[in-house]
Structure formats: structure tokens, C-alpha cells
């Protein structure tokens, strides 16, 4: 309990929010409404899985919003060229992996600070997309693009199942596979990990490639919810995802973090906007509340560790 203070406190906050909604606005719990919230949150969750790996490895990636937009557009164009859906998915995921590999080469290969590298790639990819597409939507997509050509209900179910599978796989890998433990080891102390026979730079590179892959998958799952693809999609996604991971207890100093906490963080942050609507509060408060949650969550941690520090 004490060790997982943050994870529990986020889960409790989520439950409190849901109870408050149950008391004040029971119409929030209509199945349609809940599924809409979950399908919006699912792509964010997948990106947050990747971000948790990156942050656990003591790096950060602020370029995923731009990667997300590029992957969405590329997937849309592939679908528009009548490619089969499997190939479209491949395009989104592989292009994501390529962008991730580029960051990985810069960070792991050349040893550059990840925040600066991804700041540069964030600006470059976003402006490259604007230059190339000039803000044009990808329209007139074939019918089997939206919801994979299934009915909306089946499409939503498939989307949620994919997100859940990816999440559980990452949870399993981080706990039981040596690769997952390597990420924790490198994030805790890269030099100690190297002496223990782990190759920190290889691990870092793989983490960035995974981040890109997850971003591509998230972009695909986000794009199929709509009949056409918006080139401005994913703006600010990086901060939303980092916020979810941090609120969920992933330590920015590396080496610590549980995926379950991240799940609670994603759900908590994605419930705020609809909750404001149902509580008839002005929706413009969403960002301010998100910011307060981030500050409160880290302040609670800091306060606790300061108290413990003075006790010992």
C-alpha cells in the first residue's frame, strides 16, 4: 500500500469522481456514453504504454503528437489508394516505428539528450506535414476504413479489444520478460545495468522504436473512428500522454512505474471533459483541472518524500 501510494491515490480519485458522477449525474453511466469515453481513451492508453517505457528508461519523447499526425495521414492515404486494411495498418505502424527509430538513433546512437532531439523532430515532422499537405484533410475514404468496415458497435469492440491486448502484453512484458526488466534496470542506473551485462544503448533504442510503433497503432485506432483524417490531429497529445503517465506514478527520474497506475491516470484524465459536461460546468475548465491534477499528484509525492526524509 505504502509503496504504491500514487497508484492507489489515483485509483481512489477516479472512484471518487465516478461516485460523484453517479450521485449528481447518473446519465453519465449510459453504456453508449461510457463506450464513447473508452474509445477516445484507448489510443491515448496505447501511446501512454509507450511513453511509460520511455520515461521508465529515463528519457522523454515529446515528438509523438507529430508522429501521430503523420501516421494518421499516411494510413489515410494508403486507405484512399484502396490498399487492403491489413496493409493500411502496416503503413501506420511501420511509419511510426521508423520515426521512433530516428529518435532512437539520435538518442541512443549519438548520446544526445532526448528532450532536445524530440523537440527538434516534433517541430520538423509537424511542419513537414503542414508543408506537404497544406492542411488538407484526407477525404473520400473507402467504406472499409471507418471502423474497419464493420458496424460501429463491432468496430468499437475491436478497438477496445486491441487496446486491452496491447496493454496486457506490455504489463506482462514489463513484469515477466527480461526485456521489460532491462528497461527498469537501464532507467535506474545505466552504468550499473551495463556492468550487469545489459546493453543500455540497445535497450534505449528499442524503447524508442516501441514508442513509435505504439504511436502508429494509436494513430490507426484513432483514425478509424472518423470518416476522414484531420492533419491537425494529435496536437498536444504528447503532453496529455506524459501527464497521464506521471499522474499514474511513473517517475520522471526513471526506473519506477507501474502500468496499472498509468491506466488509472489515462482514465482519470479522459473522464474530466465529459464529467464537466454532465455536471453542467463550463467545459473550458478542462485544461486548468488537468494541470491542477498533475501538480497535486506530484506535490503529494514530494510532500510525502519530504516528510519521510525528515523522519530518517
Amino acid at each position: 500500500m505504502k509503496q504504491y501510494f500514487r497508484e492507489w491515490s489515483v485509483a481512489v480519485s477516479l472512484v471518487v469522481l465516478l461516485l460523484a458522477l453517479a450521485a449528481l449525474a447518473p446519465e453519465f453511466f449510459k453504456p453508449n456514453q461510457l463506450i464513447a469515453i473508452l474509445t477516445t481513451a484507448a489510443p491515448v492508453l496505447i501511446a501512454a504504454c509507450g511513453m511509460s517505457l520511455v520515461i521508465t528508461c529515463r528519457h522523454i519523447d515529446i515528438s509523438i503528437g507529430s508522429q501521430f499526425a503523420l501516421c494518421s495521414i499516411l494510413a489515410g492515404l494508403a486507405a484512399g489508394a484502396e490498399w487492403p486494411m491489413a496493409a493500411v495498418a502496416g503503413v501506420a505502424i511501420l511509419s511510426g516505428a521508423t520515426f521512433g527509430a530516428f529518435n532512437g538513433v539520435m538518442v541512443a546512437g549519438l548520446g544526445l539528450p532526448s528532450i532536445v532531439v524530440t523537440l527538434a523532430t516534433m517541430v520538423t515532422w509537424r511542419e513537414l506535414l503542414r508543408w506537404w499537405r497544406e492542411g488538407a484533410f484526407v477525404r473520400d475514404l473507402p467504406r472499409d476504413f471507418q471502423w474497419f468496415g464493420l458496424t460501429q458497435a463491432a468496430g468499437q469492440a475491436l478497438l477496445l479489444a486491441t487496446a486491452a491486448t496491447v496493454f496486457l502484453l506490455v504489463v506482462f512484458a514489463m513484469k515477466h520478460l527480461s526485456g521489460g526488466r532491462f528497461v527498469y534496470a537501464v532507467g535506474s542506473d545505466a552504468e550499473a545495468a551495463r556492468l550487469a551485462g545489459i546493453r543500455p544503448r540497445l535497450v534505449t533504442f528499442c524503447v524508442f522504436v516501441l514508442m513509435g510503433t505504439f504511436t502508429g497503432l494509436a494513430a490507426l485506432l484513432n483514425a478509424i473512428r472518423f470518416p476522414d483524417v484531420d492533419p491537425k490531429t494529435g496536437q498536444g497529445l504528447e503532453l496529455q500522454v506524459i501527464a497521464a503517465a506521471v499522474v499514474g506514478g511513473v517517475a520522471i527520474s526513471g526506473g519506477r512505474g507501474k502500468l496499472w497506475g498509468v491506466l488509472a491516470g489515462v482514465l482519470l484524465l479522459s473522464c474530466i471533459a465529459p464529467a464537466l459536461v454532465f455536471l453542467k460546468a463550463p467545459p473550458q475548465w478542462e485544461k486548468a483541472i488537468q494541470g491542477s491534477i498533475i501538480l497535486l499528484a506530484v506535490a503529494a509525492d514530494g510532500w510525502r518524500s519530504a516528510k519521510e526524509g525528515s523522519r530518517t
Binding site: L112, L119, V123, S292, V298
Partner: protein, 339 residues
């Protein structure tokens, strides 16, 4: 085969020699590299851009880059301490609309409203400083939170639609050229603080090692507080200049400015891990970015190209040193291994 081998060896030795020459003259330091980039930019744009090489345009470039320049200037001490402040752009937005609110709805005179705005900015920086120093939280996360909080408050106060216009002429002159001397004054002030006072040395020392700085008798918490509060106050000043230049205050003022400011500081040679960096490097970075933007516009190039080139420039400048190091390490090792 062996001839090919000789050619390859000659070539690699040539590369190593070139790298060593570049190192001796410190060409890998950012300032000389940036000065060269600036020179190239000016040469190219004075050919392609109509009216580029005029004094009027030079003044215009300074006028347009004042806000980002101010943010980059105060970001420099923060990055020197090994911190970062993502919230300055949002704080600029919040200060802009609070200034509008104070002037229009509380009916204060523009100058009293401006003074209050500066105090609000300092308080915003103070919130960051409090969380960073008292609770020992990482600046990246604290300012990520206040980034959302400040922008969110700005959106909530204006409900996303309200904006403030019709400021008196006596205030608007702040954005019509009067900001350039203010910018120059702040630049000189920050340069003196960072390079000629013990404060500046304290920032570097904290960036190298906070624990070491503490043992050396530096009041680490007070110096960090100074850096973040100063950044908040100057973000408010930038907000006033922004409002005066654009003529209106909206909740989205200054979106993305924090990233441009950080880009300028890093281009200017500051290490994001703290400890090294100069104010004149930052100023060069600001000018290089501003000239790139204005020059491309005057040369009828799409504005996106400026963003692409900014990102590429950042990557090239950063990886230049890293690639050179890798090259000379690899080749140095190969030389020893050769019988």
C-alpha cells in the same frame, strides 16, 4: 584492393585532421557555428528577399522577435541550473488576458494594470519555484503541470471566446518599436547577471552539481527561486509587449513560445543538463531563428519551411559535436589497432 585500402586510409586520416583543426579553433562550439549560419542566412536572403538587407528590416526582425527573445533570455539561467520552464508561454497567455481584464473590467489605468500584471507573472513563477525548491520536484513535471494550469485558467476566464481590444494609443506604442530598447536593456541586464555576478556563477554551479553547490555555501533554493520568479515576471513583460504589438489579448497568446525559447537557448550552445551555456549564445540563437523566419517570408517561401529548417538546424548543431567525437574515437582506435 590494396590501393582502395590506401585511399580509404588517406581519406579517414584527412577527416581526422579536419576534425582536429576544427577542434583547435573551437568551431564545434555553438557560437562560432551559429555566427557562420547567420552569415550564410544573411548572404542568401539578401539575394533572394526583396528589402531584406535594409536597416528598416533589421529593426522589424528585432521588433517581431522581442517576446520570444525575452523568454529565451530568462530561460537561459533556468537551463544553466539544469532546470527547464515549459510554462512561460502559457503564463504569457494568462498574463495577457489578466491585463486585459484589469484594464477593461476593473477599469484600471493601463500602467497600473501593467504593474499588477508583472506582479502576477512573478507570482506564477513563484508557484513553480515553490514546488521545485520546497518539494524537490523535477522542474520538467512541475512546469508541465503549470503549463496546463495557466493556459487552462486563461481559457476558463475568457470562456475561450472573450478577447480584449481597443487599448489606448499611449499603451500601444510599447509594441510599435519601444520594445526594442526594453529588450536591449533586459538582454544587457541578464548578460551582466549571468556572466559578471556571483548569481551567474551560482546558476552554473547548481547545474553542474546541486549537492556540490550546497556544500560550497550557495543558497541553492534561493537562487533557483530567483531564476523562476524572474522568468515569470519577464513572461508578464513579454505578455504586455505582445498585447501592445498585436493590439488584442486572447487566451491563446504565446502558444508554443516556450518551445521556441528553449530551441533558441539550446541552439546557442547551452547544455540541457545544465552547467554550460552563455547569454550571447542564446541571443545569437534568437537572431538566427528570427532571420530565418523573416528571410523566408520575404523570399516568398512557405512559412512551414522555417519550422522544418529550425528543427533540422537544431539536430545538425547538436549531432555535429557527437558525430565528430564518434568519428575521432573510432578512427583513433583503428589507428592503434593497425600493426
Amino acid at each position: 584492393m590494396s590501393r582502395l585500402h590506401t585511399v580509404a586510409r588517406r581519406a579517414s586520416e584527412g577527416i581526422v585532421r579536419a576534425i582536429n583543426v576544427a577542434r583547435r579553433f573551437e568551431l564545434y562550439r555553438s557560437e562560432p557555428l551559429l555566427a557562420i549560419v547567420l552569415l550564410v542566412e544573411v548572404l542568401i536572403f539578401s539575394r533572394t528577399g526583396a528589402n531584406f538587407a535594409t536597416t528598416g528590416n533589421a529593426f522589424e526582425i528585432l521588433r517581431l522577435s522581442t517576446e520570444i527573445g525575452l523568454l529565451a533570455l530568462v530561460m537561459t539561467p533556468i537551463i544553466l541550473t539544469g532546470g527547464i520552464d515549459l510554462s512561460v508561454g502559457s503564463l504569457l497567455g494568462l498574463c495577457a488576458i489578466l491585463f486585459g481584464k484589469l484594464w477593461r473590467d476593473a477599469e484600471l489605468s493601463p500602467w497600473i494594470a501593467a504593474t499588477c500584471t508583472l506582479a502576477i507573472g512573478a507570482a506564477g513563477g513563484g508557484l513553480n519555484a515553490l514546488l521545485i525548491t520546497r518539494l524537490r520536484l523535477p522542474p520538467l513535471i512541475v512546469t508541465l503541470g503549470s503549463f496546463s494550469l495557466f493556459r487552462g485558467l486563461a481559457e476558463a476566464i475568457t470562456r475561450g471566446v472573450d478577447n480584449f481590444t481597443g487599448f489606448p494609443e499611449s499603451f500601444l506604442f510599447l509594441g510599435e518599436g519601444a520594445q526594442v530598447p526594453i529588450f536591449a536593456a533586459v538582454a544587457v541586464g541578464v548578460w551582466l547577471m549571468v556572466h559578471r555576478t556571483t548569481f551567474g556563477r551560482a546558476f552554473r554551479a547548481i547545474g553542474f552539481s546541486p549537492e556540490g553547490a550546497r556544500y560550497a555555501g550557495i543558497p541553492v533554493e534561493r537562487r533557483l527561486t530567483l531564476a523562476y520568479v524572474f522568468a515569470g515576471a519577464v513572461a508578464a513583460l513579454a505578455a504586455l509587449i505582445y498585447v501592445a504589438r498585436v493590439g488584442q489579448a486572447k487566451a491563446d497568446a504565446g502558444t508554443g513560445y516556450e518551445l521556441l525559447a528553449i530551441t533558441a537557448v539550446v541552439l546557442g550552445g547551452a547544455s540541457i543538463f545544465g552547467g554550460t551555456g552563455t547569454v550571447h549564445g542564446t541571443l545569437l540563437g534568437v537572431v538566427v531563428l528570427a532571420v530565418l523566419k523573416v528571410g523566408l517570408t520575404l523570399s516568398d517561401q512557405p512559412s512551414e519551411l522555417a519550422g522544418i529548417l529550425t528543427g533540422a538546424l537544431l539536430l545538425v548543431v547538436l549531432s555535429g559535436e557527437a558525430v565528430a567525437r564518434l568519428f575521432s574515437e573510432r578512427l583513433g582506435r583503428a589507428k592503434i589497432a593497425r600493426p
